[in-house]
């Protein structure tokens, strides 16, 4: 339990437009920025799910203008089965990372956590600002994979190795698409690690006088536990993404075992392990899938 008066105000009032609305240090503005990002992401994800549903219902239906998204994935505006997988992967990634993690955790957490614990702001406002902008860049990098020649990756949002690690030989989007996907997630992890650091410190060190841990609202507890889980999960996922990128661009074999034969060719990789890749991915799957929902559960009693 700490007395807030002992903490100096971390930042003064914003003096410029940029500081007030764009690169703001205020936790409420950053919370709103996260919420806006999650809203944009959910509309993109929803649009992709419409396209997927149309393909499932009417496989040969020409969706006007779809060829603009991908000439090879939608020749004559008709979606190919592999392009469906690419859209599904992007839909899953956008929804899990940029909506389900971003909205209940980063957006609402940033806005409400300091208020609920009686803190003036997060203890590291510059980290907080960086965490949002880094997440924004991660989103742009992910969406950019729509623009590369083969389109985005088709390996599913879990990106199990070795499908994700062997390159374009395993299908369209498995080359540059995976590199962009892994870059996006690695950047996203940096944002989440910075955010988690702020959330944990706010909960443990910035509580106002009389706000003991047992008096914390349930939602504050949920954001705190989610941050601890995020700190462990994203700290594993980020290096896993970096190793995956190295498998693509540096010829390493972290996630590719010996003697794989694809399209009649023996891959030049050797000595890697699919299990290490999938354990890295899996170790973060569980917190990733539970972390978004825990603040959501907790938000009910506070509504």
């Amino acid at each position: 339990m700490h007395d807030m008066s002992a903490h100096a105000v971390q930042h003064g009032a914003p003096t410029s437009f940029l500081r007030k609305h764009v690169f703001s240090l205020d936790h409420k503005v950053i919370g709103k920025q996260y919420y806006a990002l999650a809203l944009v992401a959910v509309f993109v994800g929803m649009f992709l799910s419409w396209l997927m549903r149309i393909h499932l219902g009417w496989g040969s239906f020409a969706i006007p203008g779809l060829h603009l998204l991908s000439k090879t994935g939608a020749p004559g505006d008709v979606m190919t089965p592999e392009y469906y997988l690419q859209l599904m992967t992007m839909h899953g990634t956008i929804m899990v990372f940029f909506v389900l993690t971003t909205a209940p955790f980063a957006a609402f957490g940033n806005f409400f956590l300091p208020i609920q614990v009686g803190a003036e702001d997060m203890p590291f406002p510059h980290f907080n600002m960086m965490s949002f902008w880094v997440t924004f860049v991660a989103f742009l990098v992910l969406v950019a994979s729509f623009l590369v020649p083969d389109g985005p990756t088709l390996g599913g949002w879990t990106q199990y190795a070795p499908l994700s690690a062997v390159g374009s030989v395993s299908g369209p989007g498995q080359g540059l698409g995976v590199v962009l996907w892994a870059s996006s997630i690695a950047i996203f992890c940096i944002g989440q690690l910075l955010g988690s650091l702020n959330f944990i410190t706010t909960t443990l060190d910035m509580r106002t006088r009389g706000m003991s841990l047992m008096r914390l609202p349930l939602s504050a507890w949920a954001w705190f536990i989610t941050s601890v889980m995020g700190l462990t999960a994203f700290a594993v996922l980020m290096p896993a993404c970096i190793l995956l990128i190295l498998d693509h661009v540096a010829g390493t074999s972290f996630f590719v075992p010996s003697n794989l034969v694809i399209n009649g060719q023996i891959l030049p990789h050797s000595g890697g392990s699919t299990c290490s890749g999938n354990t890295c991915s899996g170790s973060s799957d569980i917190p990733r899938s539970t972390s978004p929902s825990s603040p959501a559960w907790a938000s009910f009693p506070t509504c």
Partner: protein, 267 residues
């Protein structure tokens, strides 16, 4: 408004329980000896989760109804001494339930996956690759020849990289695109992936096992009903994943003997 919400919760809770209780979407028939264990575990999980779900939703609806119309000036009631006792009781209750499900589930799983196959189990090798399954039977010598990855050639139908010139054990191996097994005979399935991750899923057999590239795994099972069943890949393996399947034909011993003779003649 709150009372409408409470009634809606009750309707949704009971409505979602009806198809489960009425077995509207039941699992496919079980054709394996280990299936009853798995099914029992599914039923226990569904029963415990279902009771918890219904109880919590009905309780939620009850409280919403009861406190939806507070009298003005009514005192807010609180638990004497705090709600710590209730919270601890809920933790213990739910914790015990989850732990019990985990312990019994692990026991059922271990009895299927950790028990070694019988000594006389019939070995069949399955190779998964983008986007097909191939099966290999060891022939009269009961031994498989080694896989030579450099000799895998789909154009020549050498799916397993078999070298019959140098490997004595490979000479009588039988490779098929369809899996046939005799009924009531234990099968020891040796699983190998040549490229990426796949899965071997036969819902009726209650078997679902991933192929892990670089790691040869094995499972064993006994089919108890003659029939033709679908084997599907359930691990996203690339652009043709949606179409990756094969068939498992469970035959009488006599039919199987004839089938394997025909397949041997085709090699």
């Amino acid at each position: 408004m709150a009372k409408i919400f409470a009634v809606t919760i009750i309707l949704i809770a009971i409505g979602s329980a009806i198809p489960i209780v009425m077995h509207t979407w039941d699992m496919p028939q079980d054709i394996s000896t280990h299936g009853p264990l798995i099914d029992e575990q599914f039923k226990d999980t569904m029963l415990e989760a279902g009771i918890s779900f219904l109880a919590s939703q009905l309780l939620l609806a009850f409280f919403i109804w009861k406190f939806s119309d507070p009298k003005p000036g009514a005192k807010i009631k609180s638990f004497p001494g705090g709600a710590a006792g209730l919270v601890i009781a809920a933790f213990v209750l739910v914790g015990t339930e989850v732990l019990a499900l985990g312990v019994f589930g692990a026991k059922a799983w271990a009895s299927v996956y950790f028990a070694p196959p019988a000594a006389n189990a019939m070995p069949v090798q399955v190779q998964a690759g983008q986007f097909a399954f191939y099966f290999r039977y060891p022939g009269p010598d009961g031994k498989f020849g080694p896989i030579h990855v450099d000799q895998i050639n789909e154009a020549n139908a050498n799916f397993f990289g078999i070298d019959t010139t140098h490997d004595q054990d490979s000479k009588d191996d039988i490779v098929t695109a369809e899996m046939a097994i005799p009924v009531n005979r234990e099968i020891h399935l040796l699983m190998h992936s040549k490229d990426v991750g796949h899965s071997f899923f036969v819902p009726e057999l209650r078997v679902q096992q991933d192929f892990v590239p670089g790691l040869d795994l094995s499972i064993h099972f006994t089919a108890t009903k003659v029939g033709k069943y679908e084997i599907v890949c359930t691990q996203l393996c690339g652009l043709g994943h949606y179409n990756m399947k094969a068939y498992l034909e469970v035959m009488s011993q006599e039919d199987y003997d004839n089938w394997i003779k025909q397949q041997a003649a085709l090699q």
